[in-house]
Assembly symmetry: C2
Homo-oligomer: 510 residues x 2
Amino acid sequence: MLNQLGRNIPDCIEGYGLCKPFTGENISTYNVIRSQIHAISESGETKVRSDLKSLLQEMELKDGMTLSFHHHLRNGDGVLNEVMMAVENMGIKNIRVAMSSIFPIHRPLVELMKNGTVTQIAANYISGPVAEAISEGFLDKPAIMHTHGGRARAIESGDLSIDIAFIAAPSADVCGNISGVNGPAACGTLGYAISDALYAKTVVAVTDTVVPYPAEFTEIGQEYVDFVVEVDSIGDPAGIVSGTTQITKDPIGLKIAKQTVDVIEASGQLKDDFSFQTGAGGTSLAVAHYLRLKMQEKGIRGGFASGGITGYLVEMHESGFFRSLMDVQCFDLDTIRSYQENPRHYSMSASKYGNPHNKGAVVNQLDIMILGATEIDLDFNVNVTTGSDGKIMGGSGGHSDTASGSKLAIVVTQLVKGRLPIVKDRVTTVTTPGQSIDVLVTERGIAVNPNNKALSDQLIKAGLNVVTIETLQQMAYKIAGEPNPLEFEEKIVAVVEYRDGTVIDVVRKV
Amino acid sequence: MLNQLGRNIPDCIEGYGLCKPFTGENISTYNVIRSQIHAISESGETKVRSDLKSLLQEMELKDGMTLSFHHHLRNGDGVLNEVMMAVENMGIKNIRVAMSSIFPIHRPLVELMKNGTVTQIAANYISGPVAEAISEGFLDKPAIMHTHGGRARAIESGDLSIDIAFIAAPSADVCGNISGVNGPAACGTLGYAISDALYAKTVVAVTDTVVPYPAEFTEIGQEYVDFVVEVDSIGDPAGIVSGTTQITKDPIGLKIAKQTVDVIEASGQLKDDFSFQTGAGGTSLAVAHYLRLKMQEKGIRGGFASGGITGYLVEMHESGFFRSLMDVQCFDLDTIRSYQENPRHYSMSASKYGNPHNKGAVVNQLDIMILGATEIDLDFNVNVTTGSDGKIMGGSGGHSDTASGSKLAIVVTQLVKGRLPIVKDRVTTVTTPGQSIDVLVTERGIAVNPNNKALSDQLIKAGLNVVTIETLQQMAYKIAGEPNPLEFEEKIVAVVEYRDGTVIDVVRKV
């Protein structure tokens, strides 16, 4: 069937099941489930295990189970690989790995996909060799790509039922109180792991740092944790602080950032107590930088900044530009320090951050959201899941969640990247529906979604360079030429779930 | 049928249902349920309501619903009365009130019991006119008396299904982030309200102080809250800080406290990193005082102190006698201050504190627990639910939870109180089973539970005045005479649930 965006979605996908097509509408009631859990009512029982392999045996790990992991250690994570190698050694097959995000360091998974240890992956973002291998069809069952909020929803609703959650724990006490702030692999908040801990049938804290009871700065409490297993190292601190967290020096990026702040100003959203989120990319950070200058000039103080938090936002918070920070993930050491020191630097779970089926997520309170795009089409649908070669190279993360919740969702991008036009007739994969996007800012002009006529009028009145998205497409095609359409096989390698669990698109094998 | 303690429990009680008799055994698996919930996925929806009555209408309040409340405002609480008066005004009948504890200030409930607005009460502790009225049989259905941990268990398991939770919120923001630390009725931690917020079908924050978003020191997050209703006042600060929180000056109480510390020392539990809990009564606080002197003398530093926290324990924490505090309820202003200031002063939910059906509660980590008793019998069963007149005057609170979890559970009491002997053949009502109690300390001697022979040997070796409990009973009878047996009617006015949901006793009409 065609979903509301005209994407061809099968009624049923082998290895995934029945598809609920994307409808673009919100539901008002939902189910939250929890199932049978092991009670620890005796004071004598110890949760501590010194050996991962015998713990797996004790937990009666079986073929077909779903094992979950979080990605706060990012490209420094050592836990997924260590657990999965132990699983392979036991000869267990057909495991579904539910890791909130997958990075290049998780390359060993590829071998496990080939030999049938892992036959399905659910993640919000996948980059590196695992993404490549999924695109090449190495998984028996299609990968499931969630949003950050959608993953929490899927876990809470039972759509993503977790048998064992392995929580990489920078520190933990013997009762399983888990903290992200102490230990050699400190990562700050543990927002993406909360739903796993609350809803998995069995929860294992994997730690290299056992601290005195009760652990300081506990984010996941002992009442949710079955086992604490000690390993030599949960990860490489150098890889935790990874990704671009410097302001771009590229003049085109800076120009886009400057224009973005003009858009914000013209939109009327730049007022005392406004809220703001931006990614950790160079252009996104540059938006924060110019926004700061504008706030200074106009004497405006913001309410909160949210999302993954960087040192740049910490500095703005500490300088009084934002009263508070709502932090689902600390991107650098300065952010981890701030999280411990600043009483208005709050952690939030992925559910609190972006789950559409709770009683109101933080994204709903966002005024201004700065988003990236790999591709954007004439309906303002955005792709951040696949590259222009059709292969998986990312995923929504919080893209769809924040775009949907925020009052003003701005996509910032160069018109042409790597000699490829960014504005296309149809994006290769829809990650975020155009209905959530208000405006596209490029170095050659600003296109406003026709569903936001008021914004268009405001920007034109402010003398900004407003053009149609079709005009931007023509400019892009003039520079880079019209891209050749990709050829796909029938085989579906990934199902892209919108945050509400409906299928917004599928990724087919190139 | 007779339960494991020989108490006569009906198979089925009208207005309560089938009874699971107390068995004295732990179960190892349990169910946690959650049901259909209203989603707020739009950014435009506001949760704020200015009028309680129209909110009740909007929520379609119906006859027969269960409404829940927490007792952190103690004898200063204004929320239960205000909500229930509005319920009565609407002509709604047959409401079950699930309030974690009920105090004299809740006297208006009595009228609502008489006129059928309220036909059942579930609480962990009931004192004052409501207790009196229940004992006199004013409720259509028997009251259900939980423990603090057992209430959390009942809510999480669905045994106590809540339609609407009204959370008295010292401060809240417009999205329902609730904090206990700001506002005129600041009460500190909100541990007893957490399960209500997580599991009720609808959650209402009732507040007199709306703060900027996001609220500082949020304990209950917006993702759980449906509505925020503003009222003039949620309570009287003077009543929040109530109850005995001064060390006794009574020489008998001081003597018992001193001997208790001798018992602790002789037991071998007084060592570095030990954990400790005591009540807020005068003798209990005196134990803390003498314990402190002993710790100082021996150079011992404790791990954590837990439970409801008083200024005396705060002072011990700040002086380095206990590394951390695990706080389910702040008893005074100094404790509220400490909770905000001291990074190792942690809050805990009632579930984390004492729920026997999660993955290990804090009570399981307790080394030493000091308990009170209204009566104790030859099997060491303790009554803190009814007075010697057979009327309800309290309830378990955390009594059974901590007695069960702690390594050394010590009951401290005078042998005779108000001319009545405390040690009896059979307690009027069993609150806590004797199997959980290790030792009874009175001014005339120390009786050790025969199930703890090792402790008895240690105390005798240390030269303490160890006698049998039968000896203590005889001494008490000698002083005060043998008490006359009470006469009860058939009518059951309250069902006493043990922490695991089994029925440990019933209270009949006198």
